[in-house]
Amino acid sequence: MAKVSLTTPVTEEQIRSLEAGDKVLLSGVVYTARDAAHKRLVEALDEGEELPFAVEGNAIYYVGPCPAKPGEVIGSAGPTTSYRMDPFAPRLIKEGLRIMIGKGERNDEVIDAMKAQGAVYLGAIGGAAALISKCIKEAEVIAYDDLGTEAVRRLLVEDLPVICVIDSQGNNLYRRD
């Protein structure tokens, strides 16, 4: 279990060197997307359209934040449960997505895609949303504005505390037996 600082965008090599159990402080740009946005992203790929952000080497954080209070960058912003994104994640991983941040289990299709392409699943602490929002320095809606809290946002994060739950070998901290 190492302590690692990582800044996006990342290379396959950097991702392959992470191990389940590593404590990661993540910095750089991460994009937010939940169920509804994932559905649209994958539909866009199916239609051969360009995505609203480059997936290659990047990170998606599964979050629907609270509205920002006046003078704040963003409201509370903890992870949502990841399995709802499982039907869409392998497709994005094939496009070069390297990091997913959420909470809770992933299915075997997602894990297989992570192993094949070199991607990791990082767990943020579910419910620690006020604490996590302190690490978010910039936030801007970049697509699907009509989805409200579920819109795609570009976040700039600094030392976001996460744990590598599933690494690119498929080692999974949730399955310990």
Partner: protein, 281 residues
């Protein structure tokens, strides 16, 4: 007959929505600390510490503890000698929810139709309202914002009467195990036993309103709550599903008489952000 203005009810509901989402109950905060002392894994300790810190930040900055500020579940105990004037009771409640979620910068997480359109209603209404008519001339309002990470992990089972205590335990442990890391453990397990399908579900939800450290009045069920808590905590799911002794903070059981042919059980899971605030008007 005593009267109360609808507007007064709206104002109270708005305040409760905000209060419940910003200020975690002292019982939960204290339990985080006790659990921290009991745990022997570093990861579990660190997570519990972060949860304490998160609750502190939320309280100090007056921001939501969790970004999922829930669907507003509201329990009313309406005295039969109280009359609501100058407005409609349920409308007043929903106006309160709308005002609270808007003024409190809480997330609006409700969609208009559950299956086809799924369009956000933009003010977190409607609330889910449960009303009980009771003696007296007061109105007790409890607001319990319910996050869906944990709600989604809840299950119903119509057990056979002969399945008995063992059947119940097996089912509860199965539900908690299947939920695993998804409902943001440590969780609170609410169990409704008896009645009919909807009665059991309501009992399970209601049991989640109990403060930690308060048990079922009936000694038999109190013992069962404690046994189940021990067994749940032996599953080694732990905080955030990363292992440890603290899978649940409490197991609460509520019961009701049932039919000779049935034994309905609903397990309603709540997360560590176990929110509920009440007021008596």
């Amino acid at each position: 007959m005593r009267t109360i203005k609808a507007e007064e009810i709206s104002r109270a509901v708005a305040k409760l929505c905000i209060d419940a989402n910003y200020n975690l109950g002292e019982d939960i905060v204290n339990e985080y600390k006790l659990a921290y002392q009991r745990e022997n894994s570093d990861v579990a300790k660190e997570i519990l510490q972060q949860l304490s810190k998160n609750a502190e930040i939320a309280k100090e900055d007056q921001v939501p503890i969790c970004q999922d500020t829930g669907m507003a579940v509201i329990f009313l105990e309406l005295g039969q000698d109280l009359r609501v004037v100058e407005g409609d009771l349920y409308q007043a409640i929903n106006q309160g929810v709308s005002a609270g979620y808007t003024e409190g910068y809480l997330r609006k997480s409700v969609v208009n139709d559950p299956l086809i359109q799924r369009k956000n209603t933009e003010d977190n209404t409607p609330a889910v309202i449960h009303t009980e008519i009771v003696p007296g001339d007061q109105l007790k309002i409890t607001v319990a914002p319910k996050g869906f990470g944990s709600e989604n992990m809840s299950q119903l089972k119509m057990l056979r009467p002969t399945d008995g205590v063992e059947g119940l335990k097996t089912f509860v442990l199965k539900v908690v195990k299947e939920a695993g890391p998804n409902p943001c453990p440590p969780i609170v397990v609410g169990i409704g036993i008896g009645g009919t399908v909807e009665k059991a579900a309501l009992l399970a939800k209601k049991s989640l309103l109990r403060p930690l450290g308060v048990y079922n009045d009936d000694e038999k069920f109190k013992n069962l709550e404690q046994e189940l808590l021990e067994e749940v905590n032996r599953l080694d799911i732990g905080p955030q599903g990363l292992g440890g002794l603290t899978t649940a903070l409490a197991v609460n059981i509520e019961t009701y008489p049932t039919h000779i042919a049935g034994l309905p059980v609903v397990v309603n899971i709540n997360c560590h952000v176990a929110r509920h605030k009440e007021v008596v008007l």
